[in-house]
């Protein structure tokens, strides 16, 4: 139990995928302009990340390793992720057409969210078990979601600020992301690895 709690704290705070490992920056910048869309994106990504983390573990363990096809790992993980994203897209389309419309292109683009492939590959690299992989994927997703939603609320406030013309839009957003990352450095050393 402690082991899973440690994995959660590690992925959510200490090794946050966005602010410490700098993975998944495209949706972090792209979908954080409004709080509502970013909440939807956070939920969709959480679903995809957890599910693809589990699926890629199963594919790696029972297909690739048993058939001796480890060299096909990256491409098969991409395929697994694409399938999970397609599935999520269908679910969102049926359950919440409004959210489907608001998320637009960013929903299929979860496929190219490097955090998703990153989690799948890191699971293999760190030789996680089935449960560890699931918790790792879920923790990464929670960390991503939390940071994305906080960032969206911050950006709504910066939108009305008197920012110098040259820094408006993505420039000040990137600076803000950098300062957030600075704050997250405080968690360094929290978990001795």
């Amino acid at each position: 139990m402690t082991e899973y709690a440690l994995i959660l704290v590690s992925t959510v705070l200490v090794n946050n995928f966005v602010l410490v490992k700098f993975l998944g920056l495209c949706p972090f910048m792209g979908v954080s302009r409004k709080l509502e869309t970013s909440t939807g994106m956070a939920l969709a990504t959480t679903f995809v990340l957890t599910l693809s983390s589990i699926c890629s573990y199963l594919v790696n363990e029972y297909l690739l390793i048993s058939l001796g096809l480890e060299y096909l790992r990256t491409i098969s993980f991409i395929l697994v992720i694409a399938v999970v994203v397609q599935f999520t897209e269908m679910v969102v389309h049926k359950t919440s057409p409004l959210l489907y419309q608001v998320l637009g292109i960013f929903l299929p683009l979860i496929t190219t969210n490097c955090a998703v492939l990153g989690v799948a590959l890191l699971n293999v690299q760190e030789q996680h078990s089935f449960m560890q992989s699931a918790v790792y994927g879920f923790g990464a997703a929670v960390g991503f979601s939390m940071v994305l939603i906080l960032f969206a609320a911050l950006r709504e406030r910066i939108l009305v600020a008197d920012v110098p013309v040259a820094f408006r839009g993505p420039a000040i957003a990137l600076i803000t992301a950098g300062l957030m990352s600075l704050a997250f450095m405080g968690f360094a050393g929290l978990i001795k690895s």
Binding site: A153, L179, L182, A183
Partner: protein, 300 residues
């Protein structure tokens, strides 16, 4: 702008008055600091204020904004004083320069100056220095090391020192506490943030202290050492970067106290106040969003 619309709420005064009162409240603590540890901190403060005003003036000129009202409002000076107090008093001059310039230029002016910065500029400057120059940032003076200074010997032997926090620090922090209480009395700051910051820090410390007295420091030690009191009254209460709703301020303060204890006790950095303040700055817009006061006549 002839007749302002109601309600006609009487406030504590202009920005300048507020900033001046913050500086007055800091003075007793600064005086004790100089008395115990020598003139280093005073030199740092003066230098930081000069750098802050120069950076502020330069950025205002570049942005084509009027210089005089923004330079005289005292906000840059308060940022500089708080940052200089957070630095070790023997920090080399270029560190003060880098920290203050980063705080004013990037954390404050790039966001549009006073009133728009999402992060506390002084703490951004401090954290940048702490991460870039960790060795220089931890060179804190022990009273015994203040050579040629009459207080050094007194403090290491006199029994009124070293019971609560570090030697000498408990008195400096006590005077900051007095200044902070005066600010609450003058209604410059509200009680919500200081009480919840110190309360949650003390509560966390008390729980772990009761679990294992040998492993964890006492709540009083946590309150009176490091920057806990300075942070709770002067840094976390920054009206721009803190949460603005009364209920939100309670969550905001409690978050700072809890994160401070976590980073102090299990983290890799000696004091967590700066990181805790920045983390909660980051969450403040979200807290405000969920704690909006009910508009009179409307249901939730």
């Amino acid at each position: 702008m002839s007749t302002p619309s109601s309600p006609y709420v009487h406030t504590a005064g202009s920005v300048t008055t507020v900033m001046l009162r913050v500086i007055y409240a800091l003075l007793p603590g600064i005086a004790a600091y100089v008395w115990f540890f020598g003139w280093g901190v005073a030199v740092n403060i003066v230098f930081a204020v000069v750098v802050a005003l120069v950076c502020e003036a330069g950025m205002l000129a570049l942005r084509g904004r009027p210089l005089k009202p923004f330079l005289l409002d005292g906000s840059a000076a308060v940022t500089a004083v708080l940052l200089a107090l957070a630095l070790p008093s023997l920090a080399p001059w270029w560190m003060t320069l880098i920290g203050t310039a980063f705080a004013i230029i990037i954390a404050k002016q790039l966001y549009g100056g006073l009133g728009f910065n999402p992060f506390n500029p002084a703490m951004i400057g401090y954290v940048v220095l702490l991460i870039s120059f960790p060795r220089e940032m931890t060179l804190w003076l022990a009273p015994e090391m203040v050579s040629g200074h009459s207080m050094g010997e007194t403090m290491s032997t006199n029994p009124i020192f070293g019971h609560l926090g570090g030697k000498g620090w408990e008195w400096i922090n006590g005077l900051f506490l007095l200044g902070g209480l005066w600010l609450i009395y003058k209604k410059v700051i509200s009680w919500h943030i200081p009480v919840t910051v110190l309360g949650s820090l003390a509560l966390m410390a008390a729980v772990y202290f009761l679990i294992d007295r040998d492993l964890y420091a006492s709540p009083l030690f946590h309150l009176f050492s490091g920057a806990a009191i300075l942070g709770a009254f002067f840094i976390a209460t920054d009206p721009v970067t803190a949460s603005t709703t009364p209920r939100g301020r309670l969550y905001y303060g409690a978050g700072i106290g809890v994160f401070t204890y976590i980073i102090r006790t299990w983290g890799g950095y000696p004091d967590g106040i700066a990181f805790a303040v920045l983390l909660m700055n980051m969450a403040a817009p979200m807290i405000d969003y969920y704690t909006r006061p009910r508009v009179f006549g409307h249901k939730d």
